[in-house]
């Protein structure tokens, strides 16, 4: 149970936190999506790293194959990657529509525009 033995977990947590920080701290909508992508990708590592044994091969019954890696996490993450790509595509499509509607992809500017609209709606004069 050494730090080196848990190397992949430390990297996972570092990536998770970096991703989450970007989502929270950046106001640019595209950068937020980059952070979200990083956050999701870190989880792929969490699954795949424990499934791999050093020297392990695909689970094929036959001579010369003795140490097997677990293929299930890889398959799961293949699904998760598809989900991640779909989410990212939808997110980017939304950003395109937001840019068309507001003329900006900075969160602060968009919120300011919304606040303006609300003031106008309350007091038309």
């Amino acid at each position: 149970m050494s730090i080196a033995g848990h190397y992949s977990y430390f990297v996972t947590i570092l990536l998770l936190m970096v991703g989450l920080f970007i989502v929270i701290a950046r106001s640019n909508l595209i950068k937020k999506l980059v952070g979200l992508g990083l956050f999701q990708t870190a989880v792929y590592l969490l699954y795949i790293a424990p499934g791999k044994l050093i020297g392990g091969v695909a689970p094929i019954i036959g001579e010369g194959f003795e140490v097997y890696s677990n293929p299930l996490p890889h398959v799961l993450i293949l699904t998760a990657i598809v989900v991640g790509v779909a989410t990212l595509a939808l997110g980017l499509a939304l950003v395109v529509r937001i840019k068309e509607a507001y003329g900006s992809i900075e969160e602060e500017e968009i919120l300011a525009l919304d606040a303006d609209d609300e003031l106008k709606a309350r007091d038309p004069s």
Partner: protein, 493 residues
């Protein structure tokens, strides 16, 4: 023969309807297919519930691969009951969509709207039925992605931002859930929920289980919109098309609540979740905060749709309060409120959709004199409001009664007082509508008197009528909630 395939059919029917709709492309045929598919899901869900209540757990091996290696659908009274709720709401909302969507969504996007509704329905039903932790995640994302698109279809440009915010928070929630099940998989070596539940007690109570519990709870709570993780919800409900608000308010958060219950009571078990640590106390505190804070915020809203959205966050507090009591009585109350609140809030959003169509907006000021210009809609809205408050004779009363009884059975008398106080806050926000609609003169530029089109009014009135029906005769909903609660607490034996 067909009877044994009911679990998979429930998910596959709407899933196949979606691509079919995309191929049809025309608005009317798309609507017909979507409506037929939602009626079919209800026709499947009802016998499934019957079967689950009378025969116990139904296990269905997908593609005949035996569990735990293959993916299993596992149906008991609990998820069959929630599946009935979801498909019932689908049947109410779909007929409404014809006119409602024509008014709110661009005509070239109609078929996409119906396709997304079908995907969302299929995803929600999949979450309910599946007995596989990772399969649950995939269905969660199917329904969530469809939901983001549906919200973005709202007319207002703020719908886009609301959808984007929900996309961020929803994805973070789903990812946290994946981390949780990853940790569980590393420990138990299985993804089958029943298998996992059987293997977990032998693991003792290591820190990894605790971490998994924490990740899953927080992740799913984001989808539930449990206070204070509700920030995505008000805008998402306020700016999406009315039919979508009604459908989401009645189903999406409820399905996530079921997932949380399933993990708490069946997978981790009461001893790990409640007896060994303070989960119950934390959940109780958050539920109480949810009952009060968003209710107060609702009082100060100037937009009726946002008001209802905040009221939803507050009502979710009652449901999680039932969970935090961790008794069969508390679970019964939670499940009964899940059903009753779905009918109430769904019905209110549908009525409001008709009002918005006539008035062109959902700002409270525009509702002035509504009691005279749209008497039926205004009256139906008030009945829904009474159910939110929990006046005897409405569905809301029944579940609050269960909740108070369950709290007293646990010796928590003060909780009964808290439920009362929070209901008083509901009185205030419902009264704001009554005051404006009945005691103010209609504005000079108000549109001519008249009700919303019948195709909008009838489904909405039916839902509000159901709300009164289940308030007067709670024997069906009560006994089903009871059976569901016992199934959850009893585990998958």
């Amino acid at each position: 023969m067909l009877n044994s395939h009911l679990p998979i059919l429930l998910v596959v029917v709407p899933l196949l309807a979606a691509p079919l709709i995309v191929l049809l492309r025309r608005s009317l045929p798309s609507w017909i297919v979507a409506t037929a598919a939602s009626v079919a899901t209800l026709a499947i869900a009802l016998p499934l519930l019957q079967q689950a209540v009378s025969e116990g757990v139904i296990s269905y091996a997908i593609g005949n691969w035996p569990p735990p290696l293959g993916i299993e659908y596992r149906v008991d009274a609990a998820n069959a009951f929630v599946a009935v709720i979801v498909s019932l709401i689908g049947v109410f909302v779909m007929p409404y969509c014809r006119r409602g969507v024509a008014a709110e969504v661009r005509s070239e996007e109609h078929y996409l709207f119906y396709a997304m509704m079908m995907l969302c329905l299929s995803g929600l039903l999949g979450i309910l039925l599946t007995g596989d932790a990772f399969n649950l995640f995939v269905f969660l994302e199917i329904s969530s992605l469809a939901t983001y698109v549906l919200i973005a279809m709202g007319r207002d440009r703020r719908a886009l931002v609301a959808s984007y915010q929900y996309l961020l928070m929803g994805t973070i929630g789903a990812t946290l859930y994946v981390i949780g099940i990853g940790l569980l998989y590393l420990q138990t070596g299985t993804l089958n929920l029943a298998d996992m539940a059987a293997r977990l007690p032998a693991m003792g109570d290591p820190r990894a289980t605790l971490a998994a519990l924490a990740f899953i709870t927080v992740g799913i709570s984001l989808k539930i919109a449990l206070f204070p993780l509700h920030l995505w919800l008000p805008n998402a409900y306020a700016y999406s098309p009315s039919a979508v608000s009604a459908f989401l308010a009645a189903t999406a958060t409820k399905v996530s609540i079921y997932v949380l219950m399933r993990y708490f009571f069946t997978i981790f078990g009461e001893t790990v979740v409640f007896d060994a640590r303070y989960t119950g106390v934390i959940l109780l505190a958050l539920s109480l905060a949810a009952m009060f804070v968003p209710a107060v915020v609702a009082i100060f809203q100037t937009d009726l749709k946002r008001l209802l959205a905040y009221s939803s966050v507050s009502q979710i507090g009652y449901i999680t309060l039932g969970i935090s009591l961790h008794s069969v009585g508390g679970l019964t109350a939670a499940l009964a409120h899940l059903f009753n609140h779905a009918l109430t809030k769904g019905g209110m959003f549908l009525v409001l959709g008709g009002i918005v169509l006539r008035l062109g907006g959902s700002a409270l000021d525009r509702m002035a004199g509504l009691g005279r210009t749209m008497p039926i809609a205004a009256f139906a809205f008030v009945i829904g409001g009474l159910s939110l408050i929990g006046i005897p004779g409405t569905a809301g009363f029944v579940s609050k009664w269960y909740l108070v009884t369950a709290a007293m059975a646990e010796g928590q008398w003060w909780l009964a007082g808290a439920v009362m106080l929070s209901s008083l806050l509901a009185v205030i926000y419902v009264w704001r509508f009554v005051e404006i609609a009945y005691f103010r003169e209609p504005p000079d530029d108000h549109p001519p008197s008249g009700e919303a089109p019948l195709s909008l009014l009838v489904p909405a009135l039916l839902m509000i009528a159901a709300c009164v029906w289940f308030g007067l005769d709670a024997s069906w909903s009560g006994s089903m909630a009871r059976a569901a609660a016992e199934a959850l607490a009893g585990g998958w034996k």
